[in-house]
Subunit: 230 residues, 2 copies
Amino acid sequence: MAVKQPLPAEPRRTVADEVYRALKRDIITLRRPPGAALTEHELAAAYGSSRVPVREACRRLQQEGLVTAIPYKGYFVNRISLREIADCFELRGVLETHAVDSAVRRASADGLARLQELAAIEYTYHDWSSYADFLERNQDFHIQLAGLGGNERLVAVLGDLLGSMQRFFFLGLDLGAFGPEMRREHERLVEALSSGSAAAAVACVQEQIASSRQRVQRALTRNGIDLPIQ
Amino acid sequence: MAVKQPLPAEPRRTVADEVYRALKRDIITLRRPPGAALTEHELAAAYGSSRVPVREACRRLQQEGLVTAIPYKGYFVNRISLREIADCFELRGVLETHAVDSAVRRASADGLARLQELAAIEYTYHDWSSYADFLERNQDFHIQLAGLGGNERLVAVLGDLLGSMQRFFFLGLDLGAFGPEMRREHERLVEALSSGSAAAAVACVQEQIASSRQRVQRALTRNGIDLPIQ
DNA sequence: ATCGGGAAGATTGTATACAATACGTATACA
DNA sequence: TGTATACGTATTGTATACAATCTTCCCGAT
């Protein structure tokens, strides 16, 4: 008999939730660029709801670090600084490193199988929406990976962090061909986990984060994007 | 000429903010115990506002991990499990260890002075409100400490985490005499930072977190509090 | 010309009214 | 007596109206 438990992951299917997801997507994909001003009125019109759900969405995004609310003034999409990028990657490294280290000891065969599934993602070259999907799946992979470490609180924090880091990847986007490269990285990580070598797995994930950071860095310089230091 | 910058730390002085702080305090101090059901209507009556600010406060507390919202059902103060306590302390260890390690290299004399000030906190034995103040100051100390590491994002995450951990300390509260003990721990940490020894500082903070965890553990067993495993 | 004040517009903050949903309960029917 | 259905109540979800606050601009006084 299945026990009726309050699933926190169940889709909420409320207007507020839809506005939240739509607005978050638009911010991540830079359709609402860093520094853009948002008013509740305009957002309500854009997403076809009243101000109330918009308000809730904005507050959520503020706590996730994507927008800033200034009382009686409005909302602003947070600007991206080199400092913020550095901070986020650093924090991501700390969290994922620890999670992977724990995962080596705790991971179940079932969990590893699920991870393996998520590792097998690709995208079609020069297809923007396919690339956006790819990034989302990639995030799922890293969340599932962290979940194997068994610390739910850490997973929740990492989820918010990765969500707000997504837009970094859209900054200097040229749809390069690093899909296979990332896939190989993922599969090597699953291997290391399966073999039970903590050192190998940790090295693998750190290498992965470093190369992710390099991809962002290269894209910025290549496209001549000048970000404020802080 | 002072540049007018949007201070994110400025007090908002809105009704929603007051409800948020009041409700958070009541949850942390266990006046609203784990598992308690909250309705927007009752909360509005209790804190003298309408449902709108209450709603905003509840959503914030949900994202901080103190309550859970179930659509069309209500809000519930999150229960405390041994698993959650373990997860939180583990995450706290990861974050603070990293922050302190960075702080050794980056800390300014000014920042250290400010930290030293915050280290000098005490409380009067058997005075409940003094104890509550003490815990708040203690949190300020750890936030300032983490701030020296220079990663703002990490500090924000740690802030939420410490906030939701506060109520652990009220679970088996007997106002023991570990005030001087903690004060000494704080001062030793400041010393280690000043001397520039990363190893010593890291060891110090880890020891501190471990003893904090032990105090919670001991209080639970002493008062015969049986928490669910997870 | 410059500085101050005040009014108007824009925007968020709050309250209230109404709609949608979930859940318990009573009731009708087999 | 058991079960299914319909209804009533409680609660959140959403929309709208109004209040508080900030910004801007204009106009007048110095």
